[in-house]
């Protein structure tokens, strides 16, 4: 029971960045854009927040932080960073109609490099006399749990022990699911991703929908990076620590068959699988098996991908125009 109690919060902690990334990519893919730049976007989202709060913390010279600013500054910086990445992707693929795969991969190269560069060189560039980027004060605001969490026993530990971004992530996923399922905007967005020609004929502005959804998707995904560094990693930036979570988020999109609400449970499941190896007793003699357990999320995703393509159920398929650019005069 004890093991389980500590397992769930850790799985959630691992899952929330994935949830943000997955929700963002779902919004994006629903418009027919396959954004392989999401891993880069999440790095940019994280480092932009770090840069913001780094300068804010250091500008105070040790004075206590204003709680509101400590949260708003990194949040806005992060959103701005991923907003710009989203605009870049859209400009290249929607306006200039560049190949989506190539653009996405270039964005990932750029974004990961951007994150690691500023993560590694921020101190040098700013000429500040600090040893490492450890934004523990800011992090304290991000990881503050609900006040009664510690008093609520196991319930508090499982459901209430997270920073506000975790709840924001879940709320975002629910809102996205609602928009996609129940609103006219969602309906139009799905039409754009399935058949831009039909949507265009019905008077829907395909370009606008692609732009808005892709940029919004990037901004959501960027928050995943911010959560990771500010909450999960306690404000300590270390290069490449975010790892391949961005790609895992893309995998998660397939796993959830493009449904944002399923993403909530699935991301916790993936987060759990990600750290499952810590909880499976392998004994010191067989540490290597842990590496095989880490493979599980990917294998599960692969199997889901193959099975959905085998069953060929229309609801479970990727949006029909995924990866294709729309040019009205192409017929």
């Amino acid at each position: 029971m004890l093991g389980f109690l500590s397992f769930i919060p850790r799985a959630v902690g691992q899952g929330i960045p994935l949830l943000f990334g997955c929700t963002g990519e779902i919004v994006t893919e629903k418009s027919g854009n396959l954004n392989l730049g999401i891993p880069g976007v999440m790095y940019v989202g994280a480092i932009s927040g770090v840069i913001g709060s780094f300068f804010y913390e250091n500008s105070l010279n040790g004075r206590p932080l204003n709680g509101f600013l400590a949260i708003t500054i990194p949040l806005l910086c992060s959103l701005l960073g991923s907003f710009l990445m989203g605009m870049l992707y859209c400009f290249l693929t929607v306006t200039l109609r560049a190949n989506q795969n190539v653009t996405g991969l270039a964005m990932t190269t750029f974004g990961v490099g951007f994150g690691n560069f500023f993560g590694g060189s921020l101190i040098k560039l700013s000429n500040l006399d600090v040893p490492t980027i450890a934004l523990s004060k800011t992090s304290a605001f991000f990881s503050a749990t609900l006040p009664f969490a510690s008093k609520a026993g196991w319930f508090g530990q499982i459901f209430l022990s997270y920073g506000f971004l975790a709840y924001l992530g879940i709320a975002t996923a629910l809102v996205v699911a609602f928009i996609l399922k129940k609103t006219r905007i969602g309906l139009h967005l799905r039409a754009v991703g399935e058949s831009p020609t039909t949507a265009d004929a019905a008077g829907i502005n395909v370009t606008k929908y692609k732009y808005v959804s892709t940029v919004a998707g990037c901004m959501i995904a960027g928050l995943g990076g911010l959560y990771y560094v500010m909450d999960y990693a306690s404000g300590v930036w270390s290069n490449d620590a975010f790892g391949d979570r961005g790609w895992l988020a893309i995998a998660l999109v397939i796993f959830t068959i493009w449904k944002a609400d399923i993403g909530i449970l699935a991301s916790v499941l993936f987060g759990g699988l990600y750290i499952l190896y810590l909880y499976i007793p392998t004994g010191m003699a067989h540490m290597e098996l842990k590496e095989l357990y880490k493979m599980i999320p990917y294998i599960v995703t692969l199997v889901v991908l193959i099975i959905t393509s085998m069953r060929n159920r229309r609801e479970d398929q990727p949006p029909a125009s995924l990866g294709l650019n729309y040019f009205r005069e192409d017929r």
């Binding site: 129940k182 006219r184 309906l187 799905r190 039409a191 058949s195 039909t198 008077g203 229309r314 609801e315």
Partner: protein, 510 residues
């Protein structure tokens, strides 16, 4: 009664495409309230283009459109909807994974309220006798259900003028009856309807008036009950035009292919060919006449090994009398059997040629396996390309030019040139002169005739009856996937063929 008020008047409408292809010329048309008008004409007579100008897809070059006697300009489908005009196209514009109701409200403003939308859809359905489940997904629907959704979509937007582009082409007879019932209900409700068709029995059954177009020009309007199939056919096909296409007498004809009891059902589950049986002889041209989509494509592709066949046989008979069954073979196996079969498909750049490859590489499509070893022979296709370019006067900057960049006539010369270069025993062509100018067309006719003289068995699918009747030794008329008749090309009468194309034998009511 004939002078009920005109809902739509089109005056002197002219529309041209590209380099002077005239789709419509000085067309005048009135559509009255509470009336069903049939728009009748052969393929390419400009029916759809004319209606597309009402629905906002195209904009006329000149002429005027009046709605309720007021001049209007229709520049987009939305403009058309605002004026109460809705068109159901042949190719449905629906999103597969969405439900009927979601598709119907797609693109409309306001809050999404599927419940009240469903209620309104049901109301429309009850009013006109439709049968639609608003929650059913499009991909689960039959073609007729999809069509119903399209019609409801148009009505939901408040259309008073409905245009249906060949709605019955995809329907079974029972479904057609249901559609007609609905159309009659709409008429009673005061709506104006236009049905584009080339089936005469349907014209007679459903419409009050019939307007006839021929080669983009308006020929006239008849009151349906006062006319008969013969008169309509004559107006539709016009007088015989002498084209002076050569027709050499067949020499040493021998049975080459025997098609027996061929049945084909397409991917959508619609029966495209029913018990098709006929023979083709070497040194002979068999023309195939029929309205578009009546099974020509499936027939040719079945012989070429590209179409799944339900039952039946296609037997190839060699010069020495040995028989080879072609059903169940793919194009490669047919080739390996030693059968040189050439096929000029309807879709030239999507099937017959690769648009991004140059002329020389396109020559290789047929022959790239012929060389020994693992390498392709690049030289002989190159020579062949040069020869064909010279022989057929292909207008191209060079043989390294991607064929996509050639004009339609030149693309076709390259394709036909390649196909006849292998000295086929069987040559099949589909709409081989579509979109070509007169000179290119005659070049192609000559090429086909030269193959006939060389002893090939030729199947010629065409849409222009004058051409078909002047080039073919025999004419087979397909109607709705059935062989309606096989006539002698030298004696067949144009209007007789026209009638056979449009009405299945036994249905003709003289």
């Amino acid at each position: 009664m004939s002078d009920s008020k005109a809902a739509v008047s089109m005056r002197n409408i002219t529309k041209t495409f590209g380099q002077g292809v005239i789709a419509n010329k000085d067309v005048n048309l009135d559509i009255n309230k509470g009336e069903i008008l049939s728009l009748l004409g052969e393929n390419g007579s400009g029916k759809t283009t004319l209606m597309n100008m009402l629905s906002g897809i195209y904009y006329p070059d000149s002429g005027e459109i009046f709605i309720d006697s007021k001049p209007v300009s229709i520049r987009s489908p939305k403009d058309a909807y605002d004026l109460g005009i809705g068109m159901v196209h042949q190719h449905f514009k629906l999103v597969d994974v969405l439900s009927a109701a979601q598709n119907i409200v797609l693109g409309l403003p306001g809050k999404l309220d599927l419940k009240s939308a469903c209620a309104r859809i049901r109301e429309i359905c009850d009013r006109y006798g439709f049968d639609v489940d608003p929650d059913k997904k499009i991909y689960n629907m039959s073609v007729s259900e999809k069509q119903t959704v399209e019609i409801v979509k148009v009505l939901y937007r408040g259309a008073d003028i409905l245009i249906l582009d060949e709605p019955t082409a995809v329907l079974t007879p029972q479904e057609t009856q249901k559609l007609f019932d609905v159309m009659r209900n709409m008429k009673k409700d005061g709506k104006s309807l236009v049905i584009i068709t080339h089936k005469l029995n349907e014209v007679q059954e459903i419409s009050d008036k019939v307007a006839i177009l021929r080669q983009g020009e308006y020929i006239g309007t008849l009151i349906t009950k006062d006319t008969n199939p013969q008169e309509m056919t004559d107006m539709m096909v016009g007088h015989k035009v002498e084209l002076n296409i050569e027709r050499p007498e067949p020499l040493n004809s021998a049975l080459r292919i025997r098609v027996k009891g061929l049945n084909v059902v397409n991917e959508e589950g619609i029966k495209k060919l029913t018990d098709v049986s006929f023979d083709i002889y070497s040194g002979e041209i068999l023309g195939i006449a029929g309205i578009s989509g009546c099974g020509q494509k499936e027939l040719l592709e079945s012989i070429a090994g590209l179409q799944k066949v339900e039952s039946g046989s296609v037997v190839y008979i060699d010069d020495d009398g040995t028989e080879k069954e072609l059903i169940g073979m793919d194009p490669l196996k047919i080739k390996e059997l030693g059968v040189t079969l050439s096929f000029v498909p309807e879709d030239r750049l999507g099937m017959g040629l690769v648009g991004n490859m140059d002329i020389s590489d396109n020559m290789m499509l047929r022959s790239f396996r012929d060389s020994h070893g693992i390498f392709t022979d690049r030289k002989s296709p190159h020579d062949r390309a040069e020869r064909i370019v010279k022989l057929l006067n292909v207008d191209t900057p060079g043989i390294e030019t991607p064929v996509r960049r050639l004009s339609g006539g030149n693309v076709q010369k390259v394709l036909v040139g390649r196909e006849i270069y292998q000295r086929p025993k069987v040559l099949m062509t589909a709409y081989v002169v579509r979109g070509l100018d007169i000179n290119s067309s005659y070049t192609i006719y000559e090429l086909i005739n030269s193959q006939k003289v060389a002893g090939a068995a030729v199947i010629f699918v065409g849409e222009d009856l004058d051409v078909l009747l002047q080039i073919s030794d025999k004419v087979m008329v397909l109607c709705d996937g059935h062989v309606n008749a096989i006539l002698d090309g030298r004696t067949a009468d144009k209007s007789e063929v026209g009638l056979l194309m449009t009405s299945l034998k036994g249905e003709v009511t003289d």
